[in-house]
């Protein structure tokens, strides 16, 4: 058998429009491209061909892209999922991050060079980075995780703070920060697996750049964004450049908040055991995201970079 890296990547393109499929197949011809015009067959195909990267359209008559991706995630979790979309639809974007856990969003009409680079990068990650298991962790472990791994809330609105305190404080180690400075201080002092943050506050202004910068250097911290100003464009940006784990709309609901934090903590715990898997959640090296990020001040950036990395093996892996 040939070494892994030498084999061409196996790509599955899903779209109801056959001309899009032919265009993608021709564009990605250096890889082994499979095409599928009926999303209902896609999960089986992904499994059968042991696909590395999925490129899936959002709007299809038989089945929406996010539902397709969710089913593929369950049937063949190893593949990284890219969603193609012509039209920023908030519901779809939120669904794709919260349920489909997409790797990236690509807008139609796409840039050829960009999508090629993205697919190559996604394929590399899908091959190199192991999966974290989808098995639930034992109750004893979960308890340990909840006791050890902190949850940090960056939010200045007192109402939301109180709401989150009510929901989360009985179960997790929750800490609250009103300012970026305080948030970084807490990150320096405490092992933190989940950051719950607004995208913007009155006093601190835009927080998305901070979230992106943090992700760039500390990808094992899951970001749960809570926002009032739901906006598809911003959501897509946060996925593509910030690899946001979950996005919740305000007012925050008890069920979704607990579910998100629980699964984020579990992921962190599993990553601790299997640090190489973090690549799957990192920003990667594809040109589009590294270039865009991060107009955060040098000083802030240095502080973010210097935050203690508590998953030791991660340093080796990244270095």
């Amino acid at each position: 058998m040939e070494p892994t890296a030498a084999r061409p990547l196996r790509i599955l393109c899903i779209d109801d429009e056959s001309r899009i499929l032919r265009a993608l197949k021709a564009l990605l011809r250096e890889h082994e491209v499979h095409i599928c015009s009926d999303p209902r067959q896609a999960p089986q195909m992904a499994k059968d061909f042991d696909i590395d990267v999925i490129v899936c359209d959002q709007r299809m008559p038989q089945m929406q892209g996010i539902d397709t991706l969710r089913e593929i995630k369950n049937a063949h979790p190893r593949a990284l999922r890219i969603l193609l979309t012509g039209y920023a639809d908030l519901k779809a974007v939120l669904g794709s991050v919260n349920e489909g856990e997409v790797f990236r969003y690509v807008n139609k009409p796409w840039e050829n060079a960009e999508i090629k680079a993205l697919v190559t990068e996604a394929g590399r990650i899908a091959r190199e980075a192991p999966l974290i298991s989808s098995e639930p962790i034992s109750e004893r472990e979960a308890e340990e995780a909840r006791g050890t791994v902190g949850v940090l809330v960056l939010e200045e609105d007192a109402v939301t703070q109180n709401r989150l305190r009510e929901i989360l404080a009985p179960h997790y180690q929750v800490r609250f920060a009103n300012t970026i400075d305080r948030a970084l201080m807490l990150l320096e002092q405490h092992e933190t697996g989940v950051l719950i943050s607004e995208t913007e506050t009155h006093k601190q202004g835009d927080l998305t750049q901070l979230l992106k910068a943090l992700k760039l250097h500390h990808p094992y911290i899951s970001t749960v964004v809570i926002t009032e100003r739901a906006n598809a464009q911003l959501a897509m940006e946060l996925i593509n450049e910030g690899q946001v784990y979950r996005m919740l709309l305000k007012p925050v609901r008890m069920g979704s908040a607990r579910l998100s934090v629980d699964s984020a903590i579990t992921r962190y715990w599993k990553l601790k055991r299997n640090p190489r898997a973090v690549k799957r959640f990192a920003l990667g090296n594809a040109p589009s995201f590294v270039e865009h990020s991060v107009p955060v001040s040098e000083q802030l950036m240095a502080r973010i970079r210097a935050l203690p990395t508590r998953i030791v093996e991660l340093m080796k892996f990244n270095g």
Partner: protein, 349 residues
């Protein structure tokens, strides 16, 4: 009118004074009751004149006020019409952008890929030519080697799939370009940028345009059935009628939430054409139904709707001498019926 009468009166009263003066000089010592009456009358007239003058000024101010109000109202109505037109323009642009996106996506991609494929093919051809040159210049010693080389590159060229693939992508691209130009034709037809005003129009065309423009709101979730009868042409302002249909279709789409069915019908009656748009959406409650054509009435949240859509629809239909009716049942759906006169006489002009 009022101001004219007042003006005449006051001028007339001023003319009384010279006559009065002349008379008083002639009969100085005899202050006859007649004179007293005259004086009293003239004073009364002067008072009346003054009163009228003041009244007139007040009236003038009030009239100016009313005129100002009228102008403001007109301006705000024009503003509202304009805003709604812009909103429907925005909707139209979003619709077309979405429709054009898919063909644009693959045509753009294909153009680049065809370029790459041609480059690859050119390289294969160049290699073949080099081989042929080698063969042409070969002497007895190198001939066999040249022959083998040429045979190999010839095989490579024969197996190159680039041209076939490029041809396929080109066919798709021509297809996509046709689709995009059809959309632009449709768009021009919808907006009537080239000819605003009255025209003879097949309302089925208007319905089709409006459905195309709204298709990004319908696709995937709303099944549209068209039951379009053969129609005589109707004299109307197509840009406005398109706006009416787009508005009704959009409303229907929004009333249907996740999934739904919409039936669009048209038929000819005695001297009118009837178009109906039926949805199986949420329906309109009885207490809301009488208010739906009122300007600024909306059930949407602040910032989501102007509450002007249906009032403008109503205004446009009325302006065409037509009628609009609505039938709705909560939980079952809503049907809007627009009837427009055919106006055969006008049509002949």
């Amino acid at each position: 009118m009022v101001s004219d009468i007042a003006g005449t009166k006051s001028r007339a009263s001023c003319n009384e004074f010279p006559i009065l003066a002349d008379n008083s000089r002639g009969i100085e010592s005899h202050m006859s009751p007649l004179l007293l009456t005259l004086i009293f009358l003239s004073l009364a007239l002067a008072g009346a004149a003054g009163f009228f003058y003041v009244g007139q000024a007040r009236l003038r101010a009030r009239i100016t006020e009313l005129e100002e109000e009228g102008r403001k109202k007109e301006a705000s109505q024009a503003q509202v019409m304009h805003t709604t037109k812009l909103a429907s323009l925005g909707q139209m642009i979003a619709g077309v952008a979405h429709e054009i996106n898919t063909p644009l996506g693959f045509v753009k991609s294909n153009a680049e890929v065809i370029g790459d494929l041609l480059t690859e093919y050119e390289q294969a051809v160049a290699k073949c030519m080099t081989g042929v040159d080698f063969l042409l210049n070969a002497d007895a010693a190198t001939f066999e080697r040249a022959k083998t080389a040429v045979a190999r590159v010839r095989m490579e060229l024969a197996n190159a799939k680039g041209l076939v693939e490029a041809r396929e992508l080109l066919t798709d691209s021509v297809d996509g370009l046709k689709q995009m130009s059809a959309l632009v034709v449709n768009l021009k037809g919808f907006a009537r940028v080239d000819r605003d005003g009255m025209d003879l129009v097949d309302l089925n065309d208007c319905l089709q345009s409006a459905l195309t423009i709204a298709s990004h709101q319908l696709r995937d979730r709303v099944t549209v059935t068209r039951e379009l009868g053969k129609l005589p042409k109707v004299r109307c302002m197509p840009s406005q009628i398109n706006q009416v249909f787009l508005n009704l279709i959009t409303n229907a789409a929004q009333a249907m939430g996740e999934e739904g069915r919409m039936v669009v019908r048209s038929r000819v009656l005695t001297d009118t054409v009837e178009v109906s748009i039926e949805d199986n959406g949420a329906g309109i409650p009885d207490n809301v139904l009488p208010k739906i054509f009122d300007p600024f009435f909306t059930t949407k949240n602040v910032g989501e709707g102007t509450g002007l859509g249906l009032s403008i629809v109503h205004k446009i239909v009325q302006g065409h001498g037509g009628t609009i009716r609505v039938k709705s049942e909560v939980g079952k759906g809503t049907t809007f019926v627009v009837e427009l006169p055919i106006q055969h006489k006008d049509a002949k002009k």
